[in-house]
């Protein structure tokens, strides 16, 4: 459903990234990690298409949920101009979300850039188990506070492209070196497609399992227009699935079947 939700707070996380708390009871109570909302970023309908943004936290009792976003273009720029009290038209929660099994004892999340936001919600919701967090950023300026991860007592591994914080290089290098990618019950991956593909490859070679959150440009956001199509290799053969409705989370080996 789409709703006229109310912006509760707006925080500048770092450079171009913002955290927005939104009051909307239904979404707040239904949201699961990995799901997203589809947002009308412009009040005057200057932009026609909604923008998909992951839900990075939800407080069912408080009736609010959070999104975090980076200003990339016109839509996210307009979104960053919203202020507490403003009304926002959001559709959600959309998509399937991450699958999490109560039996999991040890998981890893591997995120790049804005891909870390949805993983934050997963970490918060996955309870008192062992969680390794691998976060890759472009530079230290881009490193943003993620409360779920920070307060969750996770083992955090950090990398930046320029070495200004954590390991210098790709987070997948850290993921490969410091750990055995196969030792987790599940690895959750979200970030740029090259990162995701490489991480999935590491997990596959180590004999583990993984889920990947995919990005694709969207039209309707609910599975009707087929612009967000994604090729998935399952045992039933190659299928075309929608990232918005069948995804955004897919079995890592189904979306990256060619990996080594």
């Amino acid at each position: 459903m789409n709703e006229n939700a109310r912006v509760v707070s707006m925080e500048n996380l770092c450079k171009n990234s913002f955290l927005m708390r939104i009051e909307e009871k239904r979404i707040a109570s239904l949201a699961r990690p990995g799901q997203f909302v589809n947002v009308l970023c412009s009040r005057d309908n200057k932009l026609l298409l909604r923008r998909p943004i992951s839900i990075m936290d939800a407080d069912a009792s408080g009736g609010t949920f959070d999104i975090a976003f980076e200003v990339r273009g016109e839509g996210t720029r307009l979104l960053s101009g919203f202020r507490p009290g403003d009304m926002l038209d959001v559709m959600g929660p959309l998509g399937n979300g991450f699958e999490f099994n109560e039996s999991y004892r040890r998981i890893a999340v591997v995120g790049g850039g804005i891909g870390i936001y949805p993983l934050n919600f997963l970490v918060k919701r996955s309870g008192d188990i062992e969680i390794d967090v691998f976060m890759g950023y472009r530079c230290s300026d881009a490193v943003m506070p993620c409360r779920g991860i920070e307060e969750g007592g996770c083992n955090v591994y950090l990398s930046t492209d320029d070495g200004s914080a954590g390991h210098r290089g790709f987070i997948t290098e850290v993921f490969e070196k410091n750990n055995a990618p196969g030792k987790y019950d599940m690895v959750y991956i979200c970030g740029p497609v090259q990162m995701a593909e490489r991480a999935a490859g590491l997990v596959r070679r180590a004999g583990g399992r993984c889920q990947v959150s995919m990005e694709e440009r969207m039209g309707c956001g609910i599975g009707a227009c087929l612009v967000c199509s994604c090729e998935v290799k399952t045992k039933d053969g190659t299928l075309r699935k929608t990232v918005c409705k069948d995804g955004p989370v897919f079995d890592g080996f189904e979306v990256f079947p060619e990996v080594e």
Binding site: L40, L48, R50, L226
Partner: protein, 306 residues
């Protein structure tokens, strides 16, 4: 005052003149969670082909000023799967069902029309105007001869009402509309998308993987209204108008220009309740203007200086 927004097209009675446009509403399931499908006049389902199609590679969409380009390329499960998996579900609702068909060849169109003739649908919309596939389709729609050929073939293959969907990418849309009429079409629908391209100046490549796509949305509305007016002057069969409709006022422009019904496409993405709001707004307009039925509005445009 009680007003009647029902319209009849080729003997099919729609509860109101608002139809969800092909390719933007899937087979109705998804939007069914947002609106009561019984409140729509009809739905034109995602463009069907004889065999299932995977469509083009992504990105398939790009936003443009007051519009968007799409290059889905007719991804669909094929006409058989549609009949098997979609019609029974959709039939639970009162809205009329239009099967939108696109072929690589005239034989394709004939086969699909024959198959759909037995199916539980209300109308066939013959898509000779999809700009996103290499073969067939728009190449028929670009000339009066091509339109006439496909229309005639489909006309022979089915007793269902035949609506021919026209492309705006022509010099003179009234001539393709007349060809559809001559070929035996019961109605025409227009406009499909206008071919366009957006280039990423950093990569120096088109933003869409398919390079070009079809422009839809409010940006094209003035062109679509003009074309409906031209076609209204040229043919006697009913017109279903579309292109950038976002509100009842937009829809009324089409109706006044000559459309008997309208389709809402792209705007559903912006507002999932768009179809219903347009239908409700049309009803209000009739009430406010003391009109009992919508038929009187169709084509009532008065030109200036005449």
């Amino acid at each position: 005052m009680h007003v009647n927004t029902g319209v009849s097209i080729a003997g099919v009675r729609l509860a109101n003149p608002v139809i969800a446009a092909s390719g933007t509403y899937g087979f109705g399931r998804e939007y069914g969670e947002y609106v009561d499908l019984n409140k729509l006049g009809g739905i034109s389902v995602k463009g069907l082909t004889l065999e299932p199609r995977a469509g083009n590679r992504t990105p398939r969409i790009a936003e443009t000023p007051a519009g968007m380009l799409n290059s889905v390329g007719l991804q669909n499960p094929g006409v058989e799967a549609f009949i098997r998996d979609e019609i029974p579900w959709l039939r639970k609702y009162s809205l009329k069902i239009m099967a939108n068909i696109a072929g690589n060849s005239v034989a394709d169109y004939i086969q699909m029309a024959e198959r759909l003739d037995e199916a539980d649908i209300d109308m066939i919309e013959v898509n000779v105007s999809c700009p996103n596939v290499r073969q067939g389709c728009i190449s028929f729609g670009s000339t009066p001869a091509g339109v006439a050929e496909v229309t005639l073939a489909v006309r022979k293959a089915t007793k269902k009402p035949v609506v021919v969907k026209l492309t705006p990418n022509v010099s003179d849309i009234s001539s393709t509309a007349m060809a559809a009429e001559a070929g035996g079409a019961d109605a025409v629908s227009l406009i499909n998308t206008i071919t366009g391209m957006v280039i990423d100046v950093n990569t120096r490549r088109p933003l869409l993987y398919n390079n070009t796509g079809g422009l839809s949305g409010p940006a094209i509305r003035p062109v679509a209204v003009r074309m409906v007016h031209e076609v209204y002057k040229a043919v006697g069969i009913p017109i279903i108008g579309m292109g950038g409709i976002t509100s009842a006022e937009d829809a009324l422009q089409f109706i006044i220009a000559g459309a008997s019904a309208v389709m809402v496409g792209t705007w559903n993405f912006n507002n999932p309740r768009a179809c219903i709001e347009v239908a409700d707004g049309i009803e209000c307009y009739l009430k406010e203007n003391g009109m009992q039925c919508i038929g009187r509005l169709t084509g009532c445009l008065e030109l200036n200086g005449e």
